[in-house]
Symmetry: C2
Subunit: 128 residues, 2 copies
DNA sequence: AGAGATTTCTACAGTGCGTAGAACACTTAC
DNA sequence: GTAAGTGTTCTACGCACTGTAGAAATCTCT
């Protein structure tokens, strides 16, 4: 239960980008951000979407369990359920788990990791 | 460019399962295998699919670059382009690359790895 | 209560996947 | 070499997911 569409992804990116902020996002916040981050790599933002479009996407993301919506306050507040790092790591585990020969997969995975990343991993794993 | 449907996945599993065999699979081989491995976990196999269905799927997998087809011999021979481990590892890299904060993702990833896997990783990273 | 903002409902078009028939191409047995 | 199989290509349908958004309902504030 993973893959996101392009727009869904873009919205999640907005939510993740402002996840640290104490206040969760309102729709208006998101729209403002999306127009502002037009020059990004994605090329998808800043495309002047209808308000309802974003709302639909938010609902779908909510149904998928990626977004939580506070219905108490009136302009509802939306926020990512888990951080991008958590979410991505979970996805990686899902992928890893999809193969029966996990060890073999890990071997290949490590084989093609950058030097910097290998270093990070060593630190994270501690020295045995 | 990743996700596979259920049937596509099942077909890839067949191809991967017999990847070591010197001879690549013909359609007939695959059909035979699929009927045989009916009792598996998947529950999708052994469903008495039309021959053309499997062929269609093979074509799509070929278009996606996951399957290679030898057109020389007459019953064409089909085989997975890369091993399941390679493919899965590549997917993991794709997922990892989809986040800007790769280090953070790796940290979470390592955090929720089983003890055995952690051990494997340490060995693989061995020489510093 | 009215105006404006927000949310829900409904819908349509495009794409991907499971599914397979119809037709075409090739191989092999006679 | 012709017919019967067997394998392949073409075409297509239905369903689910995604991008997209209008219409209508609901809420807030003055």
């Amino acid at each position: 239960m993973a893959s996101l569409g392009e727009l869904e992804r873009a919205v999640m990116d907005l939510l993740w980008a402002s996840q640290e902020a104490a206040t969760a996002n309102t729709l208006r916040d998101l729209l403002a951000q999306s127009t502002r981050s037009a020059g990004g790599t994605a090329g998808h933002e800043g495309k002047d979407l209808a308000v309802t479009t974003v709302l639909t996407v938010l609902s779908r993301l909510e149904r998928k369990g990626l977004v939580e919506r506070e219905r108490g306050t009136r302009p509802h507040r939306y926020q990512a359920v888990s951080s991008r790092a958590d979410h991505t790591a979970e996805l990686m585990h899902e992928v890893l788990g999809s193969a029966p020969d996990r060890e073999a997969v890990l071997a290949r995975f490590i084989g093609s990791v950058t030097a910097t990343e290998a270093e990070t991993l060593r630190k994270l794993l501690g020295h045995s």
